[in-house]
């Protein structure tokens, strides 16, 4: 009895500490957003794109980091959200940004359902190949259905009404940036609840030992498909944000390259943690902006080297390695 009491006390204690950490993390993100706004007032478009990609990487983290599904086709969900939000505005006159975001979420979730059902049919290499084939299929489909998507010219003609009827989406991207920061914070808080929930724990359990989870009476596949749908909704938010802020959707949002880059960002930051996904996106996108402006091939070499180094020396990524280092120091001190 005393033992269980102890455990409960420890559990609530660690919960409180985790909660405190979340507050700090949100404060850090808000501070970074403010710094970004003050330092790069002319480059808010880049920062908004960074937020959209961060949402994609978060969504990839849900299936790869938490569920252990290896996929190289995650941009399919992002692109589905972007195209759905864009088509809603360009062809159906739904110009309200909140409604467009909702359309993006719904389309992302549907794409997540389709991808989940197909990708989860296999494991290992075939799974990877299925995810690659899917992203190319989506890409070719969007290219072919050019009366809807604009094909290789990209989908244009998106116009957005002022947010809440008050804030115009201006040329400098102020509104889009603040809207993006708000979306990112909301998604992040919801996901923190999700990954700590029994459902989130179940997904981690499936990653570690699917056989045992099945013996407990849970179907791993159904659980993973649910997670895929949630992940699709998150990626859909990112896609819709991208469509709203740039007012154009290109085929590159549905490309293999985009998927592979998202995976690289996630691994750079650290899989299996939401803040790792954010850190990876931030580092990757800012570096890319500086280096690839100089020479795209140098950029490729540097990314390749970084990947090799991370795989060899820091398999937990930037965030995971730093967190482990800090934890060790704290232990050494106490």
């Amino acid at each position: 009895m005393a033992l269980t009491m102890d455990k409960e006390a420890i559990a609530t204690g660690s919960n409180r500490r985790a909660f405190g950490r979340d507050i700090i993390a949100i404060a850090i993100i808000l501070a970074l957003a403010a710094i970004g706004y003050l330092l790069f007032p002319d480059n808010l478009a880049l920062l908004t794109r960074l937020i959209a990609i961060a949402l994609l990487v978060l969504s990839l983290d849900l299936v790869t980091g938490y569920c252990g599904v290896a996929t190289l086709g995650h941009a399919a969900l992002f692109g589905a959200g972007a195209y759905a939000a864009g088509i809603a505005s360009a062809h159906y006159g739904i110009n309200d940004p909140l409604l467009m975001t909702l359309v993006g979420i719904a389309a992302g979730a549907v794409a997540g359902l389709i991808c989940g059902i197909v990708i989860l049919r296999a494991h290992g290499l075939p799974q990877l190949v299925l995810s690659i084939a899917l992203i190319y299929l989506f890409h070719e489909f969007a290219n072919k259905a050019s009366s809807w998507t604009g094909g290789s010219d990209g989908l244009s003609g998106i116009s957005t009404d002022p947010l809440f009827g008050l804030f115009e989406f201006d040329l400098y991207g102020h509104t889009a940036y603040f809207y993006g920061v708000a979306l990112l914070l909301i998604v992040l808080i919801l996901l923190r609840f999700l990954v700590r929930s029994p459902f989130g724990m179940l997904c981690r359990g499936i990653r570690q030992d699917p056989l045992r989870i099945r013996a407990m009476g849970v179907s791993p596949k159904v659980t993973l498909i649910k997670m895929y749908v949630i992940s699709g909704a998150v990626a859909g938010v990112g896609g819709a944000l991208n469509a709203i802020s740039t007012q154009v959707v290109g085929l590159d949002s549905l490309s293999f390259t985009q998927s592979a880059e998202a995976l690289v960002m996630l691994v750079l930051g650290g899989t299996g943690s939401l803040f790792g996904a954010l850190a990876g996106t931030l580092v990757f996108m800012l570096f890319e902006d500086y280096v690839s402006a100089a020479n795209p091939f140098h950029w490729l070499t540097i990314v390749g080297l970084l990947l090799i180094l991370v795989v060899l020396f820091a398999p937990k990524g930037i965030y995971g390695t730093t967190a482990a280092y800090l934890a060790r120091r704290r232990e050494a001190r106490s």
Binding site: A70, V129, F297, V303, G304, I308
Partner: protein, 287 residues
């Protein structure tokens, strides 16, 4: 009839080139269980070396091929020693990331050294014209590619089925630790098959340069194609890889001839269908 015939010849040539490049990947994947996305990068290195040898050094076609194969194998040895060794037996995600990293590095370095332009490998006169079969003419180069593919398939089949090295190779594929316990030097088997795989990739890259042009993003563009072929065929199986190359080459070429506006839609649709029905590939063994 004319169309059917030219589709068949092009599909056969394309499938054979795919086969020559990806059979090495299939063998190493079956043997070492490494998801190697950098395989196309070795084919690209081969193409670059051959192009450099033929155009800048003025060597003949055969010498260029030889130089490309040897050069690529030499380049690959330190990469295998320093990088691949560490990811044998690692989770797929790790292997994918490491080999994507290697691919990016090779693309970046190759373009820094050779410049970002399309590399052509001039064909000798004997391969340039076309052969009159009496009722149809076929490009000589197509025939050359098909014959190369057949020779590679036969040579590999002979090596793996009929020689003592083949016996050791098959034993290591089936159960590496048991083979090692019985006195097979598995690390030598690994090293030799890796070198052969890379050499074949370089060879295929040069021979297939007419069908898969050698350009800066070659390694990225065809990375997926090679991986798909191996996965559809079943890793480690020559017959499976040959069948997969012919089927996928046929579907891709037919799609390009008859419905070019759909691009690779049918190719990937077929891939999804086949992988869903045969998760271990057409000739994959159940474990």
């Amino acid at each position: 009839m004319q169309t059917v015939f030219s589709i068949a010849v092009d599909a056969l040539a394309y499938g054979m080139v795919l086969f020559v490049i990806s059979i090495g990947l299939s063998v190493t994947m079956g043997l070492m269980r490494v998801v190697n996305l950098a395989h196309g990068a070795f084919a690209m290195i081969g193409g670059y070396i051959a192009s450099y040898a033929a155009r800048d050094l003025g060597l003949g076609y055969a010498a260029a091929i030889l130089l490309a194969v040897v050069g690529t194998v030499i380049i690959s040895i330190p990469i295998e020693r320093l990088l691949y060794r560490r990811i044998y037996g690692a989770p797929e995600l790790t292997q994918v990331l490491m080999t994507i990293g290697i691919t990016f590095c090779i693309i970046g370095i190759a373009n820094y050294v050779f410049g970002p332009t399309l590399k052509t490998i001039p064909l000798p006169n004997e391969l340039q014209g076309s052969v009159d079969l009496g009722f149809r003419t076929i490009g000589t180069h197509r025939i050359f590619a098909i014959v190369c593919g057949l020779i590679v398939a036969l040579a590999l089949w002979f090596t793996i089925e009929k020689t003592s090295f083949g016996v050791k190779l098959r034993a290591s594929v089936d159960n590496a630790s048991m083979a090692a316990a019985l006195g097979v030097r598995t690390e030598i088997v690994y090293a030799v098959s890796f070198a052969v795989a890379v050499g074949l990739a370089a060879f295929g890259g040069v021979v297939g340069a007419e069908l898969l042009p050698v350009e800066p993003y070659y390694a990225l563009r065809y990375m997926v194609t090679f991986l798909v072929v191996v996965s559809v065929g079943g890793a480690g199986s020559i017959g499976g890889a040959l069948l997969a190359c012919l089927i996928l080459g046929g579907i891709d070429t037919t799609g390009r001839y008859l419905m070019p506006e759909y691009g690779e839609f049918f190719f990937y649709l077929a891939v999804i269908a086949i992988v869903c029905v045969f998760p271990r590939g057409l000739a994959g063994r159940t474990k």
